[in-house]
Amino acid sequence: MDRRNSIKALVLGTVSAGVVMEACKNAKTTVTEVNMDDRMQEEKDYLVKVNAEPKFFDEHEMATITVLGDIIMPKDEQSGSASEAKVPEFIEFIVKDMPEHQIPVRGGLRWLDLHSFNKHGKSFVTCSHEQQIGIVDEIAYPKKAKPEHAQGVSFFNKMRDLVTTGYYTSEIGVKDLGYMGNQPNMWNGVPDDVLKQHGLAYTEKELKECVSYN
């Protein structure tokens, strides 16, 4: 196989796998049963088991996560929001997959509601947007935060981590980031303008001995 054909075969392979998946969805087969050639049996069994578990977060918790997520990663002129990127769904899965997140997130959500109740007489999600931002501002800046809000800061650090990582590993987030790889291409070295910008250049030896492609 030459390079062009091998890449063509690869891309075709990817496409046909996607088609199989769609077809199976229409036949009401669960997604976990298809396109899992890259998983060993024990992983498939585990995923089926986790997906069969009841939801970890109740509706109120999920609503709070969604509001917080969209405050941390909002929709703006450049890209979509955390909820559009399905970050809340990711957080629901990841706390089941990594149970060490369960208590800090659940307990932190309750801390947030109590703090909100003490301040405004209602839960965080029922507060106005301005009230919500006011609360977030108290816990989003670790160095500025008051000592009595320390637990809120820890909780917000965790939510910032989970929302940010969930967002930037979604299709919307990867596009926002501008990551351009994960596709067949030919590496010909650092673009000339970038080399120039950094005052660097390839040596004669490198240009001679390294591979280049037309």
């Binding site: 160095k143 500025k144 940010t164 590993t169 987030g173 596709q183 070295g189």
Partner: protein, 580 residues
């Protein structure tokens, strides 16, 4: 248990091989191509990168976004089944020892499906360390014995690199290397400025096509997932597949070897194994038994193969089996380069690994530790996965973001700006050094514990010595200098000191373990002769990392492959001469 029985396969093979990784895969390839009838046993399931690789998947294709799990400690898309722990297959530690981290792959091709493809020949000095510094032992062979095999595997498998004429980092038959990435040019400039050489890396990745069975690299940077077009070396795709295609190999997957069978004279007659799928016991008979189960699994098999003739375990009249266990040393450090913040985007994936590295460049006679290390460099605009963007509050208050000073932490569009700004500015480096093999460092059979198949398990007793600790200290000092020279800000790995052995990895953690069934000329102090043949049993051979008399400041896979090919050709020769 009246229905318990052991099924003996009627076919008698020329050779039975345990393990399908670099060592076992190469033995199967050489013997099958020569026409021998081979039975290849693999404890894990079948695996073909063309079908089973997660190559080109996006992070959102994984529910855990590429995070690690016990099934894939190096991440969801990594090409290795299992790792530090396997359900139902425990191992134990001796109290007071350093924890030995034991990586085990269970799949056709073993760890070669995910390894770093760093393919370094050992140099002339690496086979004769005792003659140089008085520590450990010389190998019974020298570079000149192995060189023809390195040449053959360079051609057969393919490796890129450059001939630099270095004394202890021998030239090879190289494909052209890829050009350095931006951060690699920065590392090179900084390091060479303080007399630390940086040269093209040597990885078994096809920058050019070498035959019709394998495609060339298309630069997705995902060699650790294994390659669907076979553009890099995995034993599964490059050795086992063509071996099976000869029609001479019966590959049995799910076959967990229990012991090597011997006859009354003490000769090996085959392997007994439990089939993980049907839970039944089986025996395979063969004229020659070849172990490539991995350094520690091979030792475990031998120690579990006791008989009247071999009361101490097979090939173990010397008592060295399981001993001299040693891994590459490792220490690392990293940070961010302000000049790379807010950088222009382009596809920087490159090959699945570093494009440049630093081979050992100093003279240990002038240092307070006996053996060297090489340096691997990391960085670049790579695909985000779970963990990406975490800890932003530790960065965004420390550097101006697009000219603005910010309060650390935050949220909203401003946080998105921060993530974009710091993307691709992180770099790191790791040292991989040579440890001195010592008798005291060993694994043995735990008398109290069996795995779920009833096979007695290994108990480890390993400790890093002053040699390794001082080497790690030197690594850290070197890394700090390089980071300083390139104007980088260290963000992790800087606080290690004597209290934690300067960040030195646990033994086993670098996954280059070797030495448990070492070769030597003296049968009182070694288990194998210079051909990898047991002193005590002339139709038993080892072909994995267990045979190493000592490591080098190099990754060991290329030498496993070369030695396995050499042993396999010796087996063909000895069978022809009817010596075995």
């Amino acid at each position: 248990m009246s229905d318990f029985q052991v099924k003996v396969a009627p076919k008698k093979y020329d050779a039975v091989i345990v393990g399908s990784g670099a060592g076992g895969g190469m033995a199967a390839y050489v013997l099958a191509k020569a026409g021998l009838k081979v039975c290849l046993l693999e404890a894990g399931p079948d695996y073909d990168p063309a079908k089973n690789s997660a190559q080109l998947k996006n992070p959102w294709d994984s529910p855990r976004r590429g995070a690690s799990s016990k099934f894939r400690p190096f991440g969801e898309f990594d090409g290795c089944y299992w790792g530090w722990e396997i359900d139902g297959e425990p191992y134990t530690q001796t109290k007071g020892s350093d924890h030995f981290d034991w990586w085990r792959a269970r799949m056709v091709g073993g760890r070669t499906n995910h390894w770093g493809r760093i393919s370094l020949r050992f140099g002339p000095k690496d086979f004769k360390r005792k003659s140089i510094d008085g520590l450990g032992d010389d190998w019974p062979i020298g570079y000149e014995d192995v060189k023809p095999y390195y040449d053959k595997i360079d051609r057969l498998i393919g490796v890129y690199g450059t001939n630099e004429g270095l004394e202890n980092d021998p030239d090879g038959i190289f494909l052209p290397p890829p050009k350095p990435r931006l951060h690699e040019l920065m590392f090179k400039k900084a390091a060479t400025g303080i007399n630390i050489p940086v040269i093209p890396s040597r990885l078994s990745i096809l920058t050019k096509k070498i035959n019709d069975e394998r495609g060339a690299c298309f630069y997705c940077g995902q060699c650790n997932r294994s390659c669907k077009v076979y553009g890099d070396f995995s034993s599964s795709s490059v050795l086992v597949k063509p071996a099976v295609l000869t029609g001479n190999v019966d590959l049995i997957t799910g076959a967990m070897a229990r012991e090597v069978l011997t006859d009354r004279e003490g000769k090996a007659t085959g392997i007994s194994y439990v089939n993980k799928n049907d839970k039944q016991e089986y025996q395979i008979q063969a004229k020659v038994v070849i172990l490539g189960a991995s350094t520690c699994e091979t030792a475990r098999l031998l120690l579990n193969s006791k008989s009247q003739k071999h009361p101490n375990g097979l090939a173990n009249s010397s008592g060295v089996v399981g001993h001299y266990l040693h891994d590459s040393t490792g220490a690392a450090l990293g940070g961010v380069i302000p000049n790379l913040m807010g950088r222009k985007r382009y596809n920087e994936d490159g090959v699945g690994g570093m494009h440049v590295y630093t081979p050992w460049w100093l003279d240990n006679k002038k240092l307070d530790f006996p053996r060297g290390y090489h340096i691997e460099y990391w960085g670049g605009m790579s695909q985000p996965s779970y963990g990406f963007g975490m800890g932003m509050q530790g960065l965004n208050g420390k550097f101006q973001v697009n000219g603005k000073t910010k309060e650390e932490g935050g949220y909203g569009s401003s946080l998105k700006e921060d993530v974009r700004f710091f993307y691709g500015a992180s770099v790191g480096m790791g040292g991989r050094g040579e440890a001195v093999p010592r008798f005291e460092n060993h694994c043995k059979i735990d008398p109290d514990v069996v795995d779920k198949y009833g096979i007695p398990v290994l108990k480890f007793d390993c400790k890093n010595s002053e040699y390794e600790i001082k080497q790690a200290k030197h690594m850290k000092e070197t890394f700090r200098e390089i980071m300083h020279e390139m104007g980088a800000v260290i963000t992790w790995g800087d606080s290690d000191d004597a209290s934690n052995n300067y960040g030195l990895s646990n033994p086993g953690n670098i996954i280059h373990e070797a030495g448990t069934v070492r070769m030597g000329n003296d049968k009182k102090t070694s288990a194998l002769n210079a051909w990898g043949q047991a002193h005590d049993c002339n139709n038993l051979f080892c072909v994995d990392g267990s045979v190493f008399t000592s490591q080098a400041d190099k990754n060991i896979t290329w030498t496993i492959l070369a030695l396995s090919m050499r042993t396999s050709e010796y087996i063909l020769d000895q069978m022809k001469k009817q010596n075995i």
